[in-house]
Every structure is written in C-alpha cells, then in structure tokens.
C-alpha cells in the first residue's frame, strides 16, 4: 500500500521525506492548500520563488518545496521577497511565514509591502503564539491567555491582522482557518492571480504551544473551536462588535485593482527606453 504516492508529493524535493512539524500541526494543512492551489492553477514550481522567515510556519516551503526557496532571517521575508520580485517580476513570489515573524518583528515590512502593492502572495500562518521558540505571546495571542511570557494572562490587546493589512493598502486580503482548506485553496489561487499584494491569513492550530496556553487542547479541539467560532465576513458586517467578540471573521476582506509596483517599474523602464530612442 505504501507504494502509493501522494498526488502533491511531486512538488516536494525528493530527498525530503518527512515534515518536521508536531503531530496535528495546522501547517501541514496549509502546505497542502498551497500545493493544491498551484496544481489547480496548472503552474509549475519553476514559476515560483518561495520566501520564508524563521518559525515553524516558515518551514512550510523550506526545504519541502522543490522550487527556488529563500529561507531568510526572522521577520524579514517580505523585505527579501520585495527584492526578489523586483528582480524577477514575471515569477510568482510567495511568502509563507508565521504571525510572529510577519506581524511582530516583521510588521513594518508587511504594512509597507501592502502599501506599495508589490505583487507578492503572502500566506500568513496565524497560530496565535510563537511556536518554534516555545510558546511565548504573539501579537495575535488573545488578551488574557497565559503563555510562557504572560503567565498571569496577557495584558495586551491583539492584532486583527486582515483588516489592518487592508487599511495598509493591500489589493487582496482573505482569512480562513485550517478548518476551511478548500476555501483556503481558493483564496490562495485568487492571491496568486492577483496583480498586487495579496495576504491570505490562515488561522491555524498549534496544538503543542497554543493548545497548552489557551487550554483548548489538541489539534481536533482547536479545529472544532475554529469551526464553531468562524463567522463569514458578509455576516459579520451585519453583527455588532459585542457579538463578534471571540469570533473569527473569515472570508475576503478586500479585492481591488490598483497599480502593482513591479509592473510599474517595468512600465517606467520601458518608457524611459522609448523616450531615449
């Protein structure tokens, strides 16, 4: 039976035979969603450059994906990816990294990439915690939860990432949980075809660290929690803030057209060349 090969396996480096995530980690669900999006869009791995930061989620493409992969420093993948995209505007440049990586230390690069509307597809794994370093508070950790760095309950408020990135200027923003792998795949596909900055926020389970901190429990319990607390954005818009407390608003937050940076550069250089002739 084990001769069967997973259909998405063809996108992986042959020598990488196992993932390094903990049992039940949502990162694997996102891995599949990304690869399935690529498959459904009929793209090749050579069309891609994957860029990631540091953290469990940053190991999604690195070293698993059989493509050009830039595994960068903590918090900086978007900044690196900006250089890659400007250098290779015709490639799909996808950033995959964690909530800590992209919104704590890397928050500034994220909002500026959204502002610039540079054509990156960012898959942001929001597990509400710092997984890799052992369960510290992330900017996404709900207020009141006791993590290893907030043992008396976090005193800070958390980011609502998707709408913040909308207000920073992104062209496409969607949020889904790992309980929504099919919608997630669709959103990634949309992000990949978008000419502009696309953020796909994936609310995901870290059963080991977040499960312990939140006392929600294991992978299945967190997935159940996602299921029962998700509210479609269309519905959420009609609810009042009090009702939305503790809910996870999912869906598409924005989807607009506006000039994308790398193509603006291509245009400018082209027009300078014309002007010269």
């Amino acid at each position: 039976m084990n001769a069967t090969v997973h259909p998405l396996r063809k996108y992986a480096r042959p020598h990488v035979t196992r993932t390094t995530t903990c049992p039940g980690c949502g990162n694997g669900i996102a891995t599949q969603a990304i690869l399935r999006a690529i498959e459904e869009l009929d793209l090749r791995m050579d069309d891609f450059v994957f860029v990631s930061g540091i953290g469990c989620s940053a190991w999604i493409p690195s070293p698993f994906f059989a493509a050009d992969t830039l595994h960068t420093t903590h918090g900086r993948p978007v900044a690196f990816a900006t250089g890659v995209k400007l250098g290779l505007p015709e490639k799909h440049v996808m950033v995959v990294s964690g909530d800590g990586d992209l919104t704590a230390i890397g928050g500034n690069h994220l909002i500026h990439a959204a502002r610039r509307n540079i054509g990156l597809t960012v898959v942001l794994m929001n597990n509400g915690i710092y997984g890799m370093t052992g369960g510290q508070t992330a900017p996404t950790t709900p207020r009141g939860i006791s993590t290893v760095t907030s043992p008396y309950g976090s005193l800070e408020h958390s980011f609502d990432i998707a709408p913040m990135i909308v207000s920073a200027g992104a062209a496409y923003v969607a949020r889904w949980t790992t309980h929504h792998p099919r919608q997630l795949t669709k959103a990634i596909k949309k992000g990949l075809t978008k000419k502009g900055f696309a953020l796909i926020e994936v609310v995901t389970q870290c059963p080991v660290q977040f499960g312990r901190a939140s006392k929600l429990g294991g992978a299945v319990e967190i997935l159940k929690h996602f299921k029962s607390n998700s509210v479609r954005i269309e519905k959420a818009r009609k609810m009042d803030p009090a009702e939305l407390l503790g809910k996870i608003v999912v869906g598409e937050f924005v989807d607009i057209e506006k000039p994308e940076l790398s193509s603006e550069w291509t245009r400018l250089i082209h027009s300078m060349r014309e002007g010269r002739q």
């Binding site: 480096r13 690195s62 050009d68 420093t73 900086r76 690196f80 250089g83 400007l86 250098g87 500026h112």
Partner: protein, 384 residues
C-alpha cells in the same frame, strides 16, 4: 571578464558620492535599495535618477533592514545589487549582513561613515565603522572592505567592489566617509570598453543535491533564482547543497569556517596596499582619507631629512596581515594614524609588535583628519 556596457566617460568635478554612484553604474549595478541618511543620501538620490536610465531599479525602503534584505533578494534574483548608508544604517543591517555572508550572496554596501557613536554628527566624516563592518554581526565570518581616499577612488573602488563581490560571493563594503563623500575633486571616468567586469558564475546541473552550491572554499557557482535550479538558500546551518542541518558538529564547523576560509585563502588576490617606505626609519600606516594627511606629512618629514615612508591599506578586510608583517620586518617604527580612537591599531600591532615599535596617533579633533604638522611632530618624537 567582460567589458562595462556603459560609463559616463570624461573628466568631472563632482562629489565622491556621485563618483560612487557612477562607478556602480559602470559596474553594471541594476538594483539599489536604500534609506536616506546623511552623508550618504546623494548616492541614493542620484541612483534614483540614474538607474531607470540604464534599465535598473531604485527602491527606497522603509528602513535600512529592508534595504539590505531586498538587495540580497535582488542578488538572488540575478541582479547586481547595492545598498548605501552610513553608520546607523550599517548597525541596523548587521543581522542581515550575516545572512549575506552565510548564504554567500554577492552584494555591495557603501558606507559613507559619519561621526559617532549613535546619531553623533551626520555631516562629519570619521573612520568609526572600520571594525564594525567586519565584526559587527554575530557569530564568526569574514567580509571584504575597501577604503577609498578620494572621489576618484570612490569611482574606481566601487567597480572593484562589484568585481570582488561577484568573484567571492561575499558582501563587499566601500568604506567612504562624509569627508570624501561630499568632497569634490577631479574624477576621470574611462570609456566603458576600458572597464573590466567580472561575470557571475551560475551552475548548470538542475538538481541541487548533485551540485555544490555552498561552502566551497574555491567559491561555488551561484544558483540564482528563476532558472529552474531549485536553489535552497538558508542562513541556518547548512551543508554543501544548502540543506539545513542543525545537529552535526562537523557540518556546523564547515558552515562557519568554510566561508571564512573562502576569503582568507584568497587574501593575496583580494588585498591591495600601497607601500612607499624603501629605506624608511618610520612608516606611517593608514587607510582611507587619513592617508592623504600621511603622505603630506611624509613629504614634510622628508623635506626635513627624516626618512619617513607610508603604508596605505586600500583593503582593510580581510586584514592585510602580510603587508603589516613585511613593513614591521623592514622598518623599526610604525606609526598608525586613524580618524578614530585606534580601532585597527590592535590588529596592526598584533602583526607588527614582535618586530617593531608600533604607536598610534589620532587626529587632534576626531572627525577632522590629521594635520600633517601634528603627524610630523609625533614622528620627530618617535625618531628622537
């Protein structure tokens, strides 16, 4: 070696920062990312105008960290990439300078140094960053740093910086300062066909597990992105294929030491010095702008019958040990002059103290290069 495609040939009277930017253009630079900072801003400002004219891109980033990151990203995307800043920016870039070293990414970093520490005095030059560029990122590594002394050399050495960066897959620093960055002098730009450029070597085998992409002391070809090479680039400890390995001490050792050895074994090809101390009783050891004071002082001294020579380190990193040892073996007195409190002085003494007397003289006021007369006085004291 190929020839430059474009160069603003002719004689110019302009600032060092301008010369540097034109040097980069001549060197085929087609991606610059930077964040404004005095006294380096003119390089970026000028590049913003100049690059699109030659098909290049200028990105003004949100900060210096993003600047170096996007430059590294662009280098992997196949660009000849440069960033320009001053000390505060170098400090912010330190983490990702280490990333460039560890991923063996060719980039050029222009440091137009200013008086510091910290905010200090933006418009005044100083040689305060000469050790920080080599030792300021964590862990262990080697970079290359070149020290121009004039606007002309800001042109010449910027081209050289690109060439060595590509040859050795390493960040190369041009250690200018606010003084020559803003200094205007005659700058002679040769025609493009007289400028030699090093082309990047790119592997042809498609499977990274069948190539050596990293940790080659002889310098591996660079598996740039977008060519179907499936490059795996990480600054986490990795093996020759770029694959992460966080458990094997032997791999860790190679991970740290091979990029260091890559530079040190090529020290002789990289290092450039200017020696002028035949029959001298004392040699003035300098780098950067102070070298001009040193030559003026040596001339003054010789006019007074004192046998004073000069040794100028054009390359400061990798440290020119051999040149220092040679000077120490021939001359009994070394006087080190730096526009700081003596940052390279210990490195020089380390190579020379066994054979010579080595002393240090800073300028009267840090930030203002030495008055040749003050040097002369110290020389007399040492030779008395």
């Amino acid at each position: 070696m190929i020839k430059a495609r474009t160069a603003l040939a002719g004689t110019h009277f302009d600032m060092g920062n301008w010369a540097c930017a034109e040097g980069a253009i001549a060197a085929g630079c087609n991606f610059v990312a930077g964040y404004p900072i005095t006294p380096a801003s003119e390089v970026a400002n000028y590049m913003a105008k100049r690059l699109p004219q030659v098909g290049g891109i200028f990105l003004q980033t949100e900060d210096e960290i993003a600047a170096i990151c996007s430059v590294i990203g662009a280098s992997w995307a196949g660009c000849r990439a440069l960033t320009v800043t001053s000390g505060p920016g170098i400090s912010l870039m330190q983490e990702n300078i280490g990333f460039a070293v560890s991923t063996e990414t060719p980039i050029v970093i222009i440091d137009v140094q200013r008086l510091g520490p910290s905010t200090g005095v933006p418009s005044i030059g100083m040689a305060g960053d000469i050790v920080q560029v080599a030792r300021g990122s964590h862990g262990d590594y080697q970079i290359i740093a070149l020290c121009p002394e004039s606007p002309q050399e800001m042109f010449d050495l910027t081209i050289r910086a690109f060439n060595i960066a590509e040859t050795y897959r390493v960040p190369v620093f041009l250690m200018a300062d606010g003084f020559i960055g803003h200094m205007r002098e005659q700058i002679i730009i040769p025609p493009a066909d007289q400028i030699d450029l090093v082309e990047r070597r790119v592997p042809t085998v498609a499977d990274p597990m069948k190539r050596q992409d990293f940790l080659d002391i002889g310098v591996a070809p660079m598996p740039v992105f977008g060519k179907g090479l499936q490059a795996h680039v990480t600054s986490s400890c990795h093996d020759e294929h770029g694959m992460r390995n966080l458990t094997e001490p032997a791999v860790m050792h190679r991970y740290v030491m091979n990029p260091i050895q890559k530079i040190l074994t090529h020290r002789d090809q990289i290092v450039e010095v200017r020696e002028d101390y035949v029959n001298a009783d004392l040699v003035l050891v300098t780098y950067g702008t102070v070298s001009r004071s040193a030559r003026a002082a040596a001339r003054l001294a010789r006019n007074q019958g004192l046998r004073v020579g000069t040794l100028r380190l054009i390359t400061c990193w990798p440290f020119p040990e051999e040149a220092i040892r040679k000077a120490a073996s021939r001359v009994n007195n070394l006087l080190v002059l730096e526009n700081n409190s003596g940052q390279l002085y210990p490195y020089i003494r380390a190579e020379a103290a066994h054979a010579s007397r080595v002393e240090f003289l800073g300028p009267q006021f840090l930030g203002q290069i030495h008055d040749p007369n003050a040097i002369l006085e110290k020389v007399k004291e040492m030779l008395a």
